[in-house]
C-alpha cells in the first residue's frame, strides 16, 4: 500500500517501497492557477529533505519546490516540459520527480494526510 506524506509547503511524497513520487498538492495547484513551466532536477541529481529542488511557475510568479524526501532522482517527469498544465489539471497524477530513497523518511517533520488536510482547512 502506498502512503502519502506532505510538507507544509504543499509538496507530497507518495511512497511505494523505496521509491517516492514527489509533486504538489491539489490545494497548491488550485492556488497557483495555470502552471506554465516546471523547473526540475535531472536524472541522477540528489535531493534532500527540506531543500529546494526546483520551481513551479504560474503566469505571475515562480514558487520554489522543496523535497519531502532524501535520495536520488531516478526520473524527472519530462511530460511536464511540453505540458506543464498537467500539474494544474491533475497534480496527483502529474508527479514531478521520482526519487530513490537513500535515507529514512523524516516522519517527525512530514505531515500525514490527516495533518495536511487540517493544515489547509485553517
Amino acid at each position: 500500500m502506498a502512503n502519502t506524506y506532505y510538507l507544509p509547503s504543499h509538496e507530497y511524497a507518495r511512497i511505494d517501497g523505496n521509491i517516492a513520487y514527489v509533486g504538489i498538492t491539489r490545494y497548491a495547484a488550485s492556488q497557483l492557477g495555470n502552471v506554465v513551466y516546471v523547473d526540475m532536477p535531472e536524472e541522477g541529481d540528489d535531493v534532500a529533505f527540506g531543500e529546494e529542488f526546483g520551481a513551479i511557475e504560474s503566469v505571475k510568479a515562480a514558487s520554489d519546490l522543496f523535497s519531502p524526501v532524501t535520495g536520488a532522482v531516478i526520473q524527472p517527469n519530462l511530460q511536464l516540459i511540453d505540458n506543464p498544465r498537467l500539474v494544474s489539471e491533475d497534480p496527483e497524477a502529474a508527479w514531478i520527480i521520482k526519487v530513490e530513497l537513500s535515507a529514512p523518511l523524516d516522519l517527525d517533520k512530514l505531515l500525514t494526510e490527516e495533518q495536511y488536510q487540517a493544515l489547509i482547512a485553517q
Binding site: 492557477g33 513551466y37 523547473d39 529546494e52 503566469v59 520554489d64 516540459i81
Partner: protein
C-alpha cells in the same frame, strides 16, 4: 490588510470571487477567471479594468502651464485642449519620480494622472514645486474613480453598453461627456497595447458603469495580473520595475518623451550630461533560448558569467508563447542579437537581445 485602501468597486470584486491582493497600498483584484483568459479577452475582444487606484491631480492657474512644463519631461506648450501627453517627472539627478499622463483641460488647467504607489510622494513633490507660483493644486485621488475599457471591441462596448459615443476620439485625446447629470472624462488611452478608453468619473457613477458592463456579458472583468502581462508585451514600462528613482528615462529607452529642446525642466541638466557621456545601462528585450522564465530581480550575465544587469520584468508571453523579459543591462551588451545569460535559480540560461516591443500595439491612430 487593515490599512489597505479600497476602490469603490472593492466589494463587487470580492463578491465576484476575484483573487485579491495588496498592490501599491490598495487591496486590488489580481484576476477573476484567470490571467490568461483575461489577457486573451483584451487582445481579441474587450476587457474592463478597475483602475480607480490611479491618482489624479489637477493643476490650475495662470502659472499652470509653466509649472507643469517645469516638472514634466514632455512639452505641454502649444498643446491643444483635449490632448494628452505621456512623460515623466524627474529629480534633479535625472532619476524618475514617476511616469504620468498630462491631460490639457484648458490653457490654465492640466490634469496629471499618476501611479497609485506614488500618490503621496508625487503630491508632496507637486505641491513643493507650486510654491511661489500662481497655481492651485487639487488632489482628486479620493473623489475620482477610473475604469479602463480595452481591446479591439472597446469602442463598440463603450457606445452599445455605456451609451458613450467616443469612436471619433483620436489616440491620446479626450472629451468631457455629460453622463447622468455628471461631467465625466473619456480618453482614448490605456496600458495594454490595444485600442481602448479610460473613463474618469465619481465613484458612484463608475460603480454604475461597472454593473452595466458586467450585466452586458460583452466584456470580461480583468485584474492587475493581465494588466501587467499586457503592458509588458507591448513594451510599456511599469514604475517600480523598469522605472525607479535610480533610473533615467534615457536608460529606459524613453527619450522620445523627453524634450531636450525645452528651455528647462527639472532633471534636464543631468540628462544632458548623461547623453554627452554616453549611457552606461540600457533597457533591452531578451528572449530566452532554453526553458525557464526570467523574473524581476534575476541577474543577467555575460557569456563568461560576469554580472551585467538585472531583469526588470519577465514572463512566458501569453500572446507570443515565448519566454521573454525586459532587462536593464550594461549598454555594451545592448545591441540586438547579443548573446547573454539569465541566472534562473541554479542555471544560467542563454538569452538573446531582441526588440523590447515584443507585441506590436494596435492603437487607433
Amino acid at each position: 490588510m487593515e490599512n489597505l485602501k479600497k476602490t469603490c468597486l472593492h466589494d463587487r470584486h470580492e463578491a465576484m470571487g476575484a483573487l485579491m491582493s495588496p498592490f501599491a497600498g490598495w487591496h486590488m483584484p489580481i484576476q477573476y477567471a484567470g490571467i490568461e483568459e483575461e489577457h486573451r479577452a483584451v487582445r481579441g475582444g474587450c476587457g474592463v479594468f478597475d483602475v480607480s487606484h490611479m491618482g489624479e491631480v489637477m493643476v490650475s492657474g495662470a502659472d499652470a502651464e509653466a509649472m507643469v512644463n517645469d516638472i514634466f519631461t514632455n512639452d505641454v506648450r502649444d498643446m491643444p485642449d483635449g490632448k494628452i501627453l505621456y512623460g515623466m517627472m524627474l529629480r534633479e539627478d535625472g532619476g524618475v519620480i514617476d511616469d504620468l499622463l498630462v491631460y490639457k483641460i484648458a490653457a490654465d488647467k492640466f490634469l496629471l494622472v499618476i501611479n497609485a504607489g506614488n500618490i503621496d510622494k508625487d503630491v508632496d513633490w507637486i505641491r513643493s514645486q507650486a510654491q511661489g507660483r500662481d497655481v492651485v493644486i487639487d488632489d482628486l485621488c479620493d473623489s475620482t474613480a477610473q475604469l479602463a475599457v480595452q481591446g479591439p471591441k472597446a469602442s463598440a462596448v463603450m457606445s452599445e453598453v455605456l451609451g458613450i459615443a467616443c469612436d471619433s476620439l483620436d489616440f491620446y485625446t479626450f472629451e468631457v461627456h455629460d453622463y447622468e447629470d455628471e461631467k465625466i472624462l473619456v480618453s482614448r488611452t490605456g496600458y495594454t497595447g490595444e485600442d481602448g478608453f479610460e473613463v474618469y468619473a465619481s465613484p458612484r457613477l463608475i460603480a454604475a458603469m461597472w454593473d452595466r458592463l458586467m450585466d452586458s456579458q460583452c466584456c470580461l472583468p480583468c485584474g492587475l495580473g493581465c494588466r501587467d502581462t499586457l503592458r509588458f508585451e507591448a513594451g510599456l514600462p511599469l514604475y517600480g520595475d523598469e522605472l525607479t528613482e535610480l533610473t533615467t528615462p534615457l536608460e529606459a529607452g524613453l527619450g522620445m518623451f523627453v524634450k531636450m529642446d525645452k528651455p528647462s525642466f527639472i532633471g534636464k541638466d543631468a540628462l544632458a550630461r548623461q547623453k554627452a557621456e554616453g549611457l552606461q545601462r540600457k533597457l533591452v528585450g531578451l528572449e530566452l533560448l532554453a526553458p525557464g522564465i526570467a523574473r524581476h530581480g534575476y541577474q543577467v550575465l555575460d557569456p563568461d558569467g560576469n554580472e551585467i544587469g538585472v531583469i526588470t520584468t519577465g514572463y512566458r508571453s501569453i500572446t507570443l508563447g515565448k519566454s521573454i523579459a525586459l532587462a536593464m543591462i550594461d549598454s555594451r551588451f545592448a545591441p540586438l542579437d547579443t548573446l547573454v545569460q539569465v541566472q534562473i535559480r541554479r542555471k544560467a540560461v542563454p538569452a538573446t537581445v531582441i526588440k523590447k516591443r515584443f507585441y506590436q500595439p494596435r492603437y487607433k491612430k
